[in-house]
Subunit: 359 residues, 5 copies
């Protein structure tokens, strides 16, 4: 379990080495599903939601006075991604980033559109891993495109709100949809983090009660998960910050406050992550000191037993000797004296250990 | 006990995921008390203090030439909070932050008012936890609003000073009241910190005298408490700093010095917090080396006992053997020689241990 | 001993909570001595040094063409401090900082004067604690005021130089006196630090030779002392830097170089402090590994003794058995063979331990 | 194995001490191969690839309307490097940096050319070391020069793309070739890092299953390798960043996006490096706690054995004594009682250890 | 050995406390050698190298059209240093810094000259200490002054190059000499660092093979040496950087590249220092885990011996008992059965330990 966060990270990065720039190379997990291309066009009055086979077809059906949300599930489909270059005129370097599932979250402003790459994170509670999916968003005057690795996303709430005839979102523009998509992804980070928090508490109990080598492996696994989260969220914060600073071209001033809100959320997530990092490093300390404590207890038991019986055994050894003249052996109550002395020594040592707080 | 600071943190954050922005959702502990809405209006001549049921009613009674301090206890009352949007025209995103008890301290300037969110912290000396309450302050030309999670606050001194007919505060404006509320909250941080400092000293004594696994749990508990404090106070410092830099619109220049003073106090608190962090991490080291020391002592006892008696037992074993010819057994004073040798060996080893400083 | 630096820090900070701003509240140790108010007025020709009972009286006697150095010993005297507000027109917030012995070093420019708060530090070599005293300096065109907690200071050299008729200082202005006071305090930091350095070397020897739990307590005590120093000196460096950048109003350009020099000294002190921090954390490592080493030695002694005698004891046990037919017991030289075997085993094991470098 | 990364670093740095600046001194490994000087000149129509013996000869053959890529394998050839000063007018300080294999990656703009020094890194999977080679690139209006330490590089793909008649690269200018060379080197970093990642996972398994002192040496070796990588890649990021900011003179604006892409890659590599650092430091913790765990197990075995048999041995010792009157010895079933008691004690202790989870 | 770097640091710093500013007080080691005052004047045509007794005499002999390099060995000579104030008009604060051997490296621009203070470091390979000497350089239009603590320096190469009639340096100006002196000192840092690197490798071998308390002391000694180096080189880098940024007045633009080169070297040295810091902290970990490993081995030996022989001794004890009826004692082959059982138990336990990898 533990290694997945690392493994996922570097998968196939070397596939790209040596290719010319702007090479659209999908480097994520191999997928066989067909890619899905769908457009939702809406304005306060109208709404249409249609799947298309080709980009060209879709492009013809774009509504001039509506918000056109084009969603692509399946960035492993090279031909489809390439069509966006031909038909939507998206830059090849941008599309290279779209297909590169290792892409670090970033924002880039092109002449006619704004590009934001970020991660959709879901915490798999059974496997205790982070399921990270690359999402790329393109915002232009005429459309919003969202590229996803696979079917299934966190945009369900947004679709519902669009489909509700009186949803606030229906009366808003592209930039608000763009914001809503980002916000939806960021809100899901909170859920992932909350689950991790619960798991960390369980782990804490385990470590205090019964620390084993497995506990240590779990600690490392969570440390790695937090690293993956950090790597996704820190650059996102910078990106959103850059959006706030620079992009008055694609985002209307009155919507800036929404992006401000997203920025606040990323800061809050980072705060929690940092505190979890502290928790995890505290867990490691607890683990190590649990080991030490246990060792101490083991040693105390050994010492108590040995310290009590070693001198007694010596005494019994003395009277097992075969010297011709050992006067005590002839005493009538010698054997009983032996017991008396043994019991006195034993009880004396027990008191001594009591005083030392070893018992 | 130990986990509360974490648990409190993430409570219900996920409730908000998927909701449209500006959704006023209370995510703190569930509360059933009725919310309280009160306005104190004062100027040098007059003073009124009235509870209202609705915002509308309150709004009608606002005094144009007075400082109007509106205090709301109970941000879990969705209807009430919403009225502030309708009647005072407060932005929905602002009210969302008011209801979000996880909100990070922040300051935001809107067109007609200034918004400051901060935490009221009280250290519960019995439970050894930080009781954190979300306070939101709104400052406009006409009023100051304070939103609290629940009844009971640290503003008692301010109410008294307002009620005193010749209080300096009576002759001051909104911005001074706004300052006084912040100052009052920040002053209470000092009390919380002082209590923690006392507890840390007790813990230090405990660790040096009788370290147990409970001590470690306490160390982690205090570490978490300090984390909670940091998360509340660092952003507050930034916020107050931002107030100092940017907001000449709502704060008159001659009162800037008061906010400067608050800023100084937050820096001082952060200084103390940082030093407590060092203290806590020093405690962990002390705990671990206390364990090591104890282990050393246990091992020394074991080694002393074993080293003295193991050779003696061997000697006694020799003369317990049944060889037909063991000349020593026939010696008249053999048994006494045995004792002499045993005592010499024993005392010799004791001197050796003395020299090694094990005794 | 160890806790004083912490304890001193937070003493009574909570006394101030709830008071209106500008409340002059002395929060240091309780003192009963009478406060002393003295003014030294000098110019190249003249010199007067008089004690006064009230501020008003002193104010009347200020010399217009001289440097007037007003020194106050005893900031616990509320009435006296208050008089400075009435007669010298010092701001109440400034005087609040003067009386607050927890005040962080800072510089503040007011309209008619410059305020610098800093710490006078003396290392008590017997108690191994830092004796920290709050000094506040006010520089205006007409006077320099120095507020001290108690009688006794590090300004003796300055007084001597003033009293020497041809002292360079006599021909200089207020700003040079202001500099001299700061310089004198900063120079004393070097002495405190030198003493700590010597103590750290002694502690290092102790830890390598005979580590005990007391050593660890001392390490923590020095760590705390260094923390106190840091908290005093870092903000002072910032303050002096701020003086250098901003205050051409009270400091003449040709004296800037002196303040530059002080700034250099604070940087140098911080350098040394940082290296002492490293030394102290190295001491802790040494302490822990001293413990481990000692444990190793103890264990080796135990293992050597047990490993040699346990098999020998077993052999002696064999020939102590009462089986009817143990042929060896009948051998003429059986007993001597036993000794031979025992000695061979014993020496063999000693060689083995020699090879393992345990001896 | 472990020390190579350090050793390589400081080799011969002192050779340069005392020489006048601009002294071209090769300080890397001694090499005896002849240096190779080759020029590839291309434009969309034409392509030539010729080896030359001297710089002068090469210079005569430079094509005015082509991209001229001059590649030098063998910076240990002092005469050859010097010719670049005489014929290409390259600054002596630049050539000093070219020959200094310890040169930190840097970019420098000269009047007529741009100089970039960086490292070509290859991970030797057998030796587990980083093979670092110094590459220096010079970009001018007329040519691109690449200086390498030895034959063999990562530019194979670029040569292939140049030789392909319709390669995009053929229609581009010097700056694009310059970018391609950098990109090619940076892409190879990903391969090195991926290999290290795999090795780290193997090491992790080893440490959890069978930690030995060799594991620790390996951990240090990887730590050193990561240090070498950091030292190569951090300054490269800065350098590329500087290129992005300042150098519109040699890089056409429409190609800036390619350098932006390289910059992104360096950031991504740094991200991975940082996470590997965490992994390596986690491995060290695992190693230490593996040792502790093993110690605990050893101690438990010892304690169980000793605790069970020491009291039993005492009992057997009692009935080995030779007192004249030991009544139990006369009992008919005394011997069987002895066994019964021994078995009861033995089993009782086993249950006790079971309860303590030592078994 | 270990403490010298600290001791050297703070020597006599307190001597200066209480003196007026600009007091030229030598605080280094006491020296009795006579100070040496020498001037080398050169231009492309001429060269003179003369020792002088007084500054005044030297000043008269300065050559107007030559580079005048004045070298002073012996800053402990108060009168001589003071003459520089009288005759060369050097500021007293500057001369105070010249005599203060604890002076942190710094650069300062005065009206007529530029002042640079730095450290000449030599690593004493026998004593394993850093020999640090304070060098102060003054650059004006007319001369370069170098102040040294004592005779013997690293400027031999420069003198040789000056004396060589066609040396490049002869045709250059003051600023180039100034650069050459700095460069020469910085180049020597590389030698010091290379030696330390070699020593660290030896120490690493020692720790892996035979860790003792001396190893730990050595680790601390190297840590302190690296601290001393850091404290000398970090501020030097800043100073050179400041030179690069600000001082076009004394350094001609065409020579800026040389200072750039020195700056690069300081960065490279800092890089190496940082990596050595990591190496040293890795050594401490290795030391501690070497101790743990050794402890584990000791414990394993003890446990193996005890576990094998303790039960056997118990068995032999059984048949040493004197019960009247122990049937086994009567068996013909009882003694041989005993041996058989003992050998089976012994071998069984050995297999068990083999399986546990303790053997």
């Amino acid at each position: 379990m533990k290694k997945k966060p690392i493994r996922h990270r570097k998968s196939n990065a070397s596939k790209k080495a040596g290719l010319p720039p702007g090479s659209i190379t999908y480097i994520g997990k191999e997928r066989s599903e067909a890619a899905i291309l769908e457009m939702i066009s809406y304005n306060p009055q109208e709404l249409s939601k249609v799947k298309y086979d080709t980009c060209a077809e879709l492009h013809k059906n774009m509504q001039p006075n509506s918000v056109n949300w084009i969603n692509v599930d399946g960035i492993h489909n090279y031909q489809l991604i390439n069509e966006f270059h031909d038909i939507f005129n998206l830059d090849n370097l941008l599309l290279e980033d779209v297909s590169n599932t290792n892409q670090r979250p970033k924002v880039e402003e092109y002449e006619n559109y704004l590009f934001l790459s970020l991660k959709m994170l879901r915490y798999d509670e059974v496997e205790k891993t982070i399921d990270s999916e690359q999402i790329s968003l393109v915002l232009s005057k005429d459309y919003v495109i969202s590229f996803q690795e696979k079917t299934g996303d966190v945009f369900g709430h947004i679709r519902e709100r669009i489909e509700a005839p009186k949803g606030q979102i229906r009366s808003k523009k592209n930039d608000y949809l763009f914001y809503s998509l980002i916000d939806s992804i960021v809100d899901n980070y909170f859920i992932a983090i909350e689950n991790i928090g619960n798991d960390l508490e369980d782990l804490e109990d385990e470590i205090f009660n019964d620390p084993s080598q497995k506990s240590l492996q779990k600690i490392h696994a969570y440390k790695n998960i937090l690293l993956v989260l950090r790597r996704s969220i820190y650059p996102l914060r910078e990106s959103v910050n850059k959006l706030l600073r620079d992009n008055d071209k694609f985002i209307s001033p009155k919507n800036i406050k929404y992006f401000n809100d997203v920025h606040d959320h990323t800061i809050q997530i980072i705060d929690i992550l940092e505190s979890y990092r502290d928790v995890v490093s505290g867990l490691k300390d607890s683990y190590l000191s649990s080991l030490s404590l246990k060792m101490n207890q083991v040693m105390q038991v050994l010492t108590i037993m040995a310290t009590i019986f070693i001198p007694l055994t010596f005494i019994s050894g003395i009277y097992g000797m075969n010297f011709e003249t050992i006067p005590e052996l002839k005493w009538e109550y010698g054997y009983y004296y032996f017991w008396a002395i043994s019991i006195v020594i034993g009880i004396g040592l027990l008191f001594y250990f009591k005083k030392k707080k070893w018992l």
